[in-house]
Symmetry: C2
Subunit: 216 residues, 2 copies
DNA sequence: TAGATTTTTGTATGCTCATACAAGATTCTA
DNA sequence: TAGAATCTTGTATGAGCATACAAAAATCTA
């Protein structure tokens, strides 16, 4: 058994391959449809392999959710780095939460099924909370210098709920497109800030710019 | 077989009992935990009985979702009937979507699991759409005379998404109470309408009052 | 290359659950 | 009350699945 010191390389490779396969299966079939057999088939391996590299299905699942969150986060962080004004940072956050190819019904539905599971399984809930906290912290870094604590809390909760609600609608009714969703979020945001505040956010010299949070 | 004309009474009684039991099980254990055996036990009957009164589990499930929606709807309709001003109608709609005893984590989580299923099963999606359409139609009956078509569409989508998003947060993080949620929705709504418009809504003589829709 | 170690395969086991059904209990009817 | 119709029970069947595992294949080591 190679446990200490020099780790055998193939183990890490297989684990990543399997998690990536699990991710693809998840996006297509949701949490329900993500069976061991399907994951292995997707990865081009034999059905028993999963039990060799993972303690159980839960381990694959947590790995998969983390993998997914990391992908989304990297995108948002790249967009944030390129943003010059606070308004651009806001666009980065909102657009990053509606990835161009990913705002589809099956993906929305898959994501919602994780939220449903989080209501029952405390470990999933923790993963989701980490994700959410970062979203709100990013929003806070935009609104922070402008709003007092109460209004900041309110505004970031409302925007976060709006994002979630639109994903939910996508899953249930699929009657909304990506651009429409983004437009709606900005309609909501513009109504939450005054004209003077919006001008400030667009100017890029409004107030001190806080660093984005890096968690996980 | 008593099929035509005078229906045997007991059949209807049992079906309602079983659906009510299914509803209770659903609220406590979610869609996953709602097994045939548990439903029958909850109803105080033998495990085989379900197959006698229903064609399959799906039939119970659809019945249960309809039952749930009807309960919520009756509440909103009663509140709407008592409302004197447009603003009061708005309060009726929003508060009706956060039933006092029902804004709990397990119930939120159960409801989210139905939404997740709706992403996969077209029949569930239809049920959810009926529900949603009525919500938006109720909102439209408040905003209708005041907003043009585009703004009406936007506002009702945003408010609906906000409601959904707060339920989702309840399921995932459970870091928000009923009163807080209602306050947040009204913060959002107040920012969507101008001061002049809000005054109009509160006056009760703002514009023609449309009848609430009665579907299903 | 022989033998040890690691990796992969395919299948077996056991669990949960929906559904079917035979047989028993109850209620109705004449 | 006899017999028919209706209702209820308990269990059997089989599907779908996670997980365990024996054995085969591949790779490493000396």
């Amino acid at each position: 058994m190679a446990t200490q010191g020099k780790r055998t390389r193939i183990e890490d490779i297989r684990r990543v391959e399997l998690i990536a396969a699990a991710h693809r299966v998840f996006l297509e079939h949701g949490l329900q449809g993500m069976t061991s057999a399907r994951i292995c088939r997707e990865a081009g391996m034999s059905p028993g392999i999963l039990a060799y590299y993972f303690k159980g299905k839960d381990e694959v699942l947590f790995g998969m959710v983390r993998y997914n969150n990391r992908l989304l986060m990297e995108d948002v962080i790249a967009r944030l780095a390129a943003a010059q004004t606070h308004w651009a940072r806001l666009e980065a956050i909102v657009e990053g939460n509606f990835p161009a190819q990913a705002f589809t019904r099956p993906i929305a539905s898959a994501w919602i099924s994780v939220c449903a599971e989080a209501g029952v399984n405390e470990q999933y809930a923790r993963l989701q909370r980490v994700f959410h906290r970062r979203l709100r912290s990013n929003l806070a870094s935009v609104f922070g210098g402008m709003f007092d604590a109460v209004r900041l809390q309110e505004a970031s909760l409302i925007v976060a709920a709006l994002l979630d609600g639109l994903w939910l609608r996508k899953a249930v009714a699929d009657d909304i497109g990506r651009d429409e969703a983004i437009t709606l979020v900005f309609t909501g945001i513009r109504s939450l800030v005054s004209d003077k505040e919006e001008k400030l956010l667009r100017s890029g010299r409004g107030h001190k710019r806080a660093a984005p949070r890096r968690q996980q």
